[in-house]
């Protein structure tokens, strides 16, 4: 009796021990990503804020509002890049979200299984293509097409960037929207049909509104991907050294390509300024994510209240 009790206690202790070890392993795994984020923030910010402090500091105001990037003459202005990045991202969202959403509706609600079996692998493949291939495609096809119609006689433009980014964010938008559409309970659709609504009415008046928080978070991720994309846009943006874009035919210089183009050879203040560009990009992504996550949270709550 006593012995049996002892064994039980030992077994329990062993179990506790195991629990603790596992807790530790989980904790370490979780810490890897948190520590990485902290390390990146500390590194980028310490490098990127350096040129604006101390002796011979560069004016942060000039940096953030400048319209010319000319490191050779110690001129570092990134406002036109910010505008370019934002316009490109907006354009990609305006073009990509409707196409992606309609594709998702088609796959989830309308298309017969056989067609889905063709469309879905194609989308998955699209998601797996490396961005440099998108860039090469953009340079070889989209830029050449735009060149034929552009009044500037050149294909590298805001429009080219928007087109490529829109294609690049499609898989994200489609996959996430589709799963949120599928998550809408069948009873919603049945109720809608029961009220005499047609299939299209049901989709746009019932299913899509019910799935809006998922669709919105798909858009968030799409924006994140679009604004952070580097390689593909660098190849097709034109990367002019100054001046605001004034039409979709204008060249732009996205923040990301500014960094990746010059980092390998830059040194001293020039390099710090590239890190400063990284800081701006970082803040951008932080703000966009926070705002839209709040937005999706709110919408999600409303949805559940209904």
């Amino acid at each position: 009796m006593n012995n049996a009790n002892k064994e039980k206690i030992v077994a329990k202790r062993q179990k506790d021990y195991k629990e603790k070890v596992f807790h530790f392993i989980f904790l370490v795994s979780a810490l890897v990503s948190v520590l990485s984020v902290i390390a990146i923030i500390v590194f980028v910010f310490s490098k990127g804020l350096k040129p604006f402090f101390g002796e011979g500091a560069y004016s942060f105001f000039d940096f953030i509002t400048g319209l010319k990037w000319d490191p050779g003459n110690d001129v570092y202005g990134i406002f036109y890049m910010i505008v370019g990045s934002v316009l490109a991202t907006l354009g990609a969202i305006v073009l990509g979200v409707p196409i992606g959403l309609l594709t998702a509706v088609f796959i989830a609600e309308i298309a017969p299984k056989k067609i889905v079996a063709i469309i879905r692998p194609a989308i998955e493949l699209l998601a797996g293509i490396p961005s440099v291939i998108y860039g090469a495609f953009g340079l070889g096809v989209i830029v050449q097409l735009i060149k034929k119609v552009s009044p500037t006689g050149q294909g590298e433009s805001l429009l080219a960037v928007i087109c490529v980014l829109a294609i690049m964010i499609l898989p994200t938008i489609i996959t996430l929207s589709e799963s949120s559409l599928r998550a809408v309970p069948k009873s919603y659709r049945e109720a809608s049909y029961g009220l005499g609504a047609s299939k299209i009415q049901t989709i746009f008046k019932t299913v899509v509104p019910a799935a809006k928080s998922g669709i919105l978070s798909a858009t968030v991720l799409g924006i994140g991907r679009a604004i952070g994309e580097t390689m593909a846009v660098m190849m097709i943006a034109g990367n002019n050294i100054g001046g605001l874009p004034n039409s979709i035919w204008s060249k732009i210089r996205p923040l990301t390509s500014n960094i990746s183009m010059e980092m390998s050879y830059a040194s001293g203040r020039h390099q710090d300024m590239l890190f400063a560009t990284g800081v701006v990009l970082f803040i951008f992504i932080l703000v966009i994510n926070t705002v839209l996550i709040r937005l999706t949270g709110k919408m999600g709550d409303e949805g559940s209240k209904k």
Partner: protein
């Protein structure tokens, strides 16, 4: 119940094993890389010993000391590779390079505050009393789309095109079409040399210029647009683009070496014959060897031979 515990144990073991393996893999990988580095060193060292002239070798055995090089920043990449290669065989020699600009490097060599001055231009007539070793040439070709009928541009026209003063091909004898200016990223050595040689440095590149990364992208962009103009290192001239003659001179390594092709410059090391140290002399001898010249090619320069 017992089975469940076993499962847990197995999973736990696997998890730990994976983590350990991951950690140890990191370690071994690093060690392997290190090994590789030393390996290649040894491998390159062996043929080197047989290739270099015997006198350099005997010199090398006795060499010790510090050599300071100051001057041109354009030669930095080539020179740094040469220095690390040279010091690998002469471990007791330390070579310090500081990029101060050609003129400063030459001035330092004249007043004896460095051992060797590096220059990316020829000595001027007032810069006297120095010996020079040419170790490379830098040549930049101005390229157009093959269909462009413009075959020659003057330095002045090139400057005006890149500064935005000339915007239409008809102004330089071509068809009536807008010129698409293609340039390189601002930290590029080729761009630095191009802007210096054309004088663009003082006027500034036109804001609407397309900026692409790398010689290869310039070539591809120009090849893809019949109204584009770009500039590349000589090694990037091929069938897809057309190199124009500048002031009537063809862009060839021979013309660059002869100095008749204006978009070119020599890379020199200058020193004072009377005060040069044996270590510095050994390095000066080294830069023209076959081994050192491969670094010139690596960085898109023209070899001296």
């Amino acid at each position: 119940m017992k089975k469940f515990f076993n499962m847990k144990k197995i999973i736990g073991f696997m998890l730990v094993a994976t983590m350990m393996f991951g950690l140890s893999a990191c370690g071994t990988k690093k060690a392997k890389v290190d090994e590789k580095v030393t390996d290649t060193r040894e491998q390159t060292q062996t043929p080197e010993a047989t290739q270099t002239p015997a006198e350099t070798n005997t010199d090398a055995a006795a060499l010790a000391g510090t050599v300071s090089i100051t001057g041109s920043t354009s030669v930095e990449k080539i020179l740094m590779d040469m220095i690390s290669d040279f010091t690998a065989y002469n471990p007791d020699v330390t070579i310090n390079y500081t990029g101060t600009g050609s003129s400063a490097g030459i001035a330092d060599a004249m007043n004896g505050s460095n051992d060797i001055g590096a220059s990316s231009r020829n000595l001027k007539s007032e810069e006297t009393g120095l010996e020079q070793v040419e170790f490379a040439y830098d040549g930049i070709a101005v390229v157009l789309h093959p269909s462009n009928k413009v075959a020659d541009l003057t330095m002045d026209q090139i400057l005006k095109i890149y500064s935005g003063e000339i915007t239409n091909w008809s102004e330089v004898g071509g068809k009536d079409a807008k010129i698409i200016v293609v340039s390189r990223e601002s930290a590029s050595g080729t761009r630095g040399a191009f802007e210096e040689l054309t004088g663009l440095k003082d006027v500034g590149l036109v804001e609407s210029a397309t900026v692409v990364e790398g010689n290869g992208n310039v070539q591809a962009t120009v090849a893809g647009n019949e109204n584009a103009i770009g500039y590349v290192s000589f090694s990037f001239i091929n069938d897809t683009v057309k190199a124009v003659t500048v002031d009537g001179v063809k862009a060839t390594p021979e013309n660059a070496k002869a100095g008749t092709y204006v978009l070119s410059r020599p890379f020199l090391l200058v020193y004072n014959k009377d005060t040069v140290t044996p270590e510095a002399k050994a390095f000066l001898d080294y830069v023209v060897t076959e081994d050192a010249q491969t670094f010139v090619e690596d960085h898109g320069g023209i070899r001296i031979d």
